[in-house]
């Protein structure tokens, strides 16, 4: 977290320059950045759980037991059952897969297209830059939920529409960051030198400029992930994304709302899962930012 005061943690240790074993060094490194480590561990755990959903769940997510609906947790079903008697734990594990996949797709799509746009507009400038800049401003002018509603209205509900909406909303951030980084760098000597020796433009962009961008981009990607997970669940909650009876956290929360009186736990678990995932992703993002880009606060759209 950006709050972790560097002063105390990095207090110079007046220890003799002894050779520490790599493992110990790694552990100390991780210990100092405990929030990043915890975040990474949580995300990894969730990914593993999602991958191994089939084994961990013990039963398929769509088998109905109409005689055992809305059962409380810690009975025969660890997290209880939903209104059709389906196992909540199983549905949550399979739901994790969908959420992780969709968010990854959205973020990568945004990162690739956004950076490409930013790099090229920053490098070439001119009319292309102005035009693209206008279009990005237009995209930026839309609150993401509205954009999602609009895209879903045209393409129909479903995960692909949601992925597209989130990617479109995250695009401007990547574009702006890469563009300003390019603008800062393009007048530098090494770029001019590369240009002078006749290196082709794509080579310049990819080999010389891009590596300087990796740090901020990684930070944006990890923060973008948190953003994507949150919005993917929100869209599904509104009925725009995954459709019932697909197991998905947002969808489960939407159904659980009608049973808040009889079965409050049904609404608790999927939401808690979203919270934990997003929290961990934010920890990771923040930790990476401290690592790679300590000076710069988030610019543009907040995660």
């Amino acid at each position: 977290m950006s709050a972790a005061p560097p002063a105390s943690a990095a207090a110079p240790v007046n220890a003799p320059a002894r050779r520490r074993r790599p493992v110990q060094r790694a552990v100390r490194w991780a210990g100092r950045r405990w929030s990043l480590t915890i975040g990474l561990a949580a995300v990894a755990a969730l990914c593993c759980a999602a991958l191994g959903a089939g084994w961990l769940a013990g039963q398929p997510p769509d088998v109905q037991h109409m005689d055992a609906t809305l059962q409380p947790p810690f009975g025969r079903h660890l997290l209880g059952t939903d209104e059709y008697g389906r196992d909540v734990l199983s549905r949550m594990l399979f739901g994790a897969r969908l959420t992780l996949l969709a968010s990854t797709a959205a973020v990568l799509l945004a990162a690739v297209t956004g950076s490409a746009l930013g790099l090229t507009t920053g490098y070439f400038g001119g009319a292309y830059d102005s035009l693209a800049g206008r279009m990005i401003d237009v995209l930026f002018a839309f609150p993401v939920v509205l954009l999602g509603i609009a895209i879903v209205a045209v393409l129909g509900p479903g995960e692909p529409s949601v992925v597209l909406a989130i990617a479109a909303a995250s695009l401007p951030n990547f574009a702006r960051v890469s563009r300003s980084a390019i603008i800062a760098e393009r007048e530098r000597e090494y770029v001019m030198a590369a240009h002078a020796i006749g290196a082709p433009v794509p080579y310049i962009i990819v080999r010389t400029l891009l590596p300087n961008l990796i740090g901020p981009l990684i930070v944006l990607v990890s923060l973008g992930f948190a953003y994507a997970v949150l919005y993917e669940a929100s869209f599904s909650f509104l009925g725009l994304g995954a459709q019932p009876p697909t197991p998905e956290w947002g969808v489960m929360l939407s159904s659980a709302r009608s049973y808040l009186f009889q079965a409050p736990w049904y609404a608790f678990f999927p939401g808690a899962a979203i919270f934990v995932l997003v929290f961990s992703l934010n920890l990771v993002g923040d930790g990476l930012r401290d690592l790679l880009d300590p000076r710069r606060p988030t610019s543009g759209r907040p995660p």
Partner: protein, 523 residues
């Protein structure tokens, strides 16, 4: 039908008046024994959705039916307690001319809310307009047997038909009489009727206001409360909160699943209409595979665990039936009682017989409209049954406009859940539209008469014979044929539930949404 008996006894005990106009002395006497109703006050009602049109002949939503029943007059009405159709605006109906004309006698001195007198000419205008295809009214099928309408004088009409048509008098309960000066383009105009309540305004997404008409031609049917305000609120929890807070006096038609919880709350009175009218059915498109095959349709009949559906999603407020009617109805055929049950194995065998062993090669989807959770729940259960048999159909959820268009116009669907009403009506009316009447284009299933030989004749006999025993025979045979060829499974009947504050008196819910509030008063 134990529940309805208890309810009737309860009603008589508390001596509430029968809601609709025309009961006169009988009602008031029974009721004068209890507290005397007061005039005045505003009755605030919460409904589940907003109306979407002001047109009395094309609007189909139940919430609109509830409103227009009070704003307009209809020639007949369905008694909420006995479920029989009786004259309302009409003083009498008589078959004459060797049973080829129905003579309707109207009272004199009836005025519309704009002062114009209501005469036979207005009734003729209304009937002729509904019969006009250009108007696009869904009621056209109900009064299709009418060949001509003649005005005899200001208070007498003669309706010419081919023979006796039993569906006409029940159908008139749905026909709202509009002044001929208003024309037929009514979707935006403020409704001008002759009912006990005047239409004041509609603020979309906010409320509809009705005001008691200064005078109503039937004293006994005039309203007590001065104003009725109807508010659309979709969220059930919100409607309940508003009721408990006193912002709303009556929550009309809410999700059955909340009935047990609300019944336990002493601050409100819950009335549940017995499951006699609305029925859950599934329309199957017989124009294309797979439901052009009889075995597949029958398999669908075995595919729903109705007991579990009623228990879990209707809070037990339903009745398993394979017939559009319930046992208390004279036309109910007891042989339908066990025609279909929940039997996935049997369904699996039928699939194999049809050429889809273990669901191989099977393709279909279930079409549901959004905003109707019970439809989605039913579809999800059916989906699970088929999934266990080897094929999982997708559930397509679309908005209600698209759903209706795909069902009615493009016939672009495989299977769709709906809950059509009129299970308590005269069978002639029940079988005159939509699901049940093969040759009409409005028939969702697309089955032609030769695919169910004898069906059309039997329906016609039931509609045109006078003697009840003969009609009963005809309708028994109709139900038998239906059960065998199953154009679409009839799953169960559904109750409707309403919740009100104790200060609301005289509320008698109507199973078919022909809800009159004229008898309601506020303590």
């Amino acid at each position: 039908m134990a529940r309805s008996m208890t309810r009737r006894q309860l009603l008589r005990r508390t001596a509430l008046t029968a809601a609709a106009a025309g009961l006169g002395a009988k009602g008031t006497a029974a009721w004068a024994a209890a507290a005397a109703p007061r005039r005045g006050g505003t009755l605030t009602i919460s409904q589940s959705v907003d109306i979407n049109t002001l047109h009395p002949w094309t609007g189909t939503l139940n919430v609109w039916k509830v409103i227009k029943t009070n704003v307009y007059d209809q020639l007949s009405y369905q008694d909420p307690l006995t479920l029989e159709f009786k004259p309302k605006l009409a003083k009498s109906f008589e078959w004459a001319d060797n049973n080829t004309s129905l003579v309707v006698t109207l009272p004199s001195g009836v005025r519309f809310h704009n002062g114009e007198p209501l005469t036979a000419a207005d009734v003729k205008f209304t009937l002729d307009s509904i019969r006009d295809p250009k108007v696009g009214s869904w009621l056209r099928g109900f009064i299709a047997p009418i060949m001509d309408v003649q005005v005899l004088d200001a208070t007498h009409l003669k309706i010419k038909t081919d023979t006796i048509e039993n569906q006409l008098v029940p159908a008139f309960a749905y026909v709202d009489i509009v002044p001929r000066s208003q024309g037929t383009d009514l979707s935006r105009k403020t409704p001008i009727g002759s009912g006990p309540y005047k239409f004041v305004e509609w603020i979309p997404n906010d409320h509809v206001t009705l005001q008691r008409a200064p005078s109503y031609w039937n004293e006994a049917g005039a309203g007590y409360v001065d104003r009725i305000v109807l508010r659309p609120v979709t969220e059930l929890q919100t409607r309940i909160s508003q009721l408990l807070a006193g912002d709303v006096d009556l929550v009309y038609d809410f999700s059955l699943i909340e009935v047990p919880r609300l019944r336990a709350d002493r601050r409100i009175a819950v009335t549940v209409v017995p499951p006699v009218d609305q029925m859950f059915v599934m329309y199957l498109n017989g124009r294309k595979p797979p439901f052009n095959k009889l075995e597949l349709r029958q398999a669908m009949g075995y595919a729903l665990d109705r007991e579990a559906f009623i228990k879990n999603f209707l809070a037990g407020q339903g009745r398993i039936d394979n017939s559009p009617f319930t046992p208390a109805h004279w036309a109910f055929d007891p042989r339908t009682e066990h025609a279909y049950t929940y039997d996935p194995d049997r369904a699996g065998q039928l699939l194999e017989k049809a050429g889809y062993p273990k669901g191989q090669g099977l393709t279909f989807s279930l079409l549901t409209p959004s905003g109707y959770p019970e439809f989605t729940q039913l579809s999800t259960m059916v989906q699970a049954t088929f999934a266990s048999l080897g094929y999982r159909p997708a559930i397509e959820e679309v908005d209600i406009g698209q759903w209706a268009a795909r069902l009615n116009q493009s016939h672009d669907y495989f299977a769709a859940v709906d809950y059509p009403p009129r299970g308590s009506a005269d069978p002639a009316l029940t079988y005159s539209a939509g699901l049940f009447f093969p040759p009409v284009p409005a028939n969702y299933n697309g089955l032609t008469p030769d695919e169910i030989p004898g069906y059309v004749d039997a329906v016609h006999r039931g509609a045109t014979l006078q003697a009840r025993p003969a009609r009963k025979v005809a309708y028994f045979s109709v139900q038998e044929m239906w059960t065998q060829s199953l154009p679409g499974p009839i799953w169960c009947h559904r109750s409707t539930a309403h919740a009100a504050l104790p200060s609301v008196k005289g509320f008698v819910p109507h199973a078919a949404f022909q809800q009159s509030f004229a008898g309601v008063w506020l303590a």
